[in-house]
């Protein structure tokens, strides 16, 4: 299976080189593409300097828009699957192969999950994760242990669907919507590192905003969505 690792990067000058060099050096069998989301720092310059494969967005689109760009690239260049991979070094590439194996066993989406066999810590940071897990379980009947994990692998059908449609952000509400529509979503236990440099996007206000959005979206809005699986790509494989 031909895999594309999509690495959305926004102001990741302190991490991007370490992350991509690791992939190039130890995992040359996988293709990757950095999607620079209009960073204001030296992210793009560093990618050019090192000769990385990069899509340089001239304006900031946000994570959903940047990731979608990567998926369009994958769809248009005939990739069989695409992996959402953080530029900050939290995700470990040694789990890519086991995730691919799971995809080949018939999953549509494989989530690299921190809490499948490891107990989810009961602290304030995880309140959101608990609530989202609960909401997904309530509306789909399926248990997703780590819905906010940003390490997700999509098969060809999914990546085509993600790459062309509105309201397909790489977020838990899309996952819950797809489960409800019959997609096979599986989790694989992975370990994740802490972000080494740079600062996280999340703060309290944004977290609350995110929770309200996810809550409303999963519990209410997803019931009313209509799925459109028409694909503009000829080589659609499902």
């Amino acid at each position: 299976m031909k895999l594309l690792i999509v690495i959305p990067a926004f102001n990741e000058q302190d991490n991007i080189v370490r992350v991509v060099d690791d992939l190039i050096e130890h995992y040359p069998q996988f293709d990757y593409v950095v999607v620079n989301d209009g960073s204001r720092d030296r992210t793009a310059a560093l990618c050019r300097q090192h000769g990385y494969r990069m899509i340089d967005l001239p304006v900031n689109l946000g994570l959903a828009g940047a990731f979608q760009t990567g998926l369009r690239y994958a769809a248009e260049n005939g990739y069989d699957c695409a992996l959402q991979f953080d530029a900050d070094g939290q995700h470990k590439p040694e789990y890519i192969q086991p995730m691919l194996d799971m995809l080949e066993e018939g999953a549509d989406i494989v989530i690299g999950s921190r809490f499948l066999t490891v107990r989810k810590p009961r602290n304030l940071r995880m309140v959101g994760s608990y609530l989202i897990s609960w909401a997904i379980r309530l509306t789909t009947g399926q248990k997703i242990c780590d819905p906010t994990s940003g390490m997700r692998l999509f098969n060809r059908g999914m990546l085509e669907e993600f790459s062309t449609n509105l309201n397909y952000g790489p977020e838990p509400d899309t996952i819950s919507y797809l489960i409800k529509n019959g997609a096979v979503v599986r989790e694989l236990q992975v370990q994740m590192g802490e972000r080494i440099a740079g600062k996280s996007y999340l703060n309290l206000v944004r977290s609350v905003e995110y929770m309200i959005k996810m809550g409303l979206s999963i519990l209410l809005i997803q019931w009313f969505r209509k799925r459109d699986t028409d694909s503009p790509y000829a080589e659609r494989s499902v």
Partner: protein, 120 residues
């Protein structure tokens, strides 16, 4: 103090339900982003609560010395829409600068292509 009439409450209930129906329809047709629908759903919810539990408006009215509880409803609507307007103004300004950056990028790329053609 003038009460909130049942007619006004009915209109508010119908209005908020229609808003919800309309917004959900747009999302269903993939013609509205979920992010943008959240505000209207919450707004409709607040209106619904205010019309179903007018005691809330009475309570605020007494607290702040409004002449009539219906004024609380007006003020609430005006305030929420003003805040929305403020954030939309920020959003518009950001979109404007993004559009400018995009236009410049396209034009600069065109120029680069022309130059390369000439060089050949």
């Amino acid at each position: 103090m003038v009460d909130i009439s049942w007619q006004i409450r009915l209109v508010l209930v119908l209005g908020s339900l229609l808003t919800v129906a309309f917004v959900l329809r747009r999302v269903r047709q993939s013609r509205m982003q979920i992010d943008d629908s959240i505000f209207w759903l919450l707004f409709a919810f607040v209106m619904l609560v205010l019309s179903l539990v007018p005691q809330l408006a009475y309570w605020v009215s007494n607290l702040f010395g409004f002449q009539s509880p219906i004024n609380v409803v007006y003020i609430a609507i005006i305030f929420i829409l003003l805040v929305k307007q403020f954030f939309m103004s920020i959003q518009l300004s950001q979109m404007d600068s993004k559009l400018r950056a995009l236009t410049q990028k396209v034009a600069l790329n065109e120029e680069k292509i022309e130059q390369e053609k000439d060089d050949l």
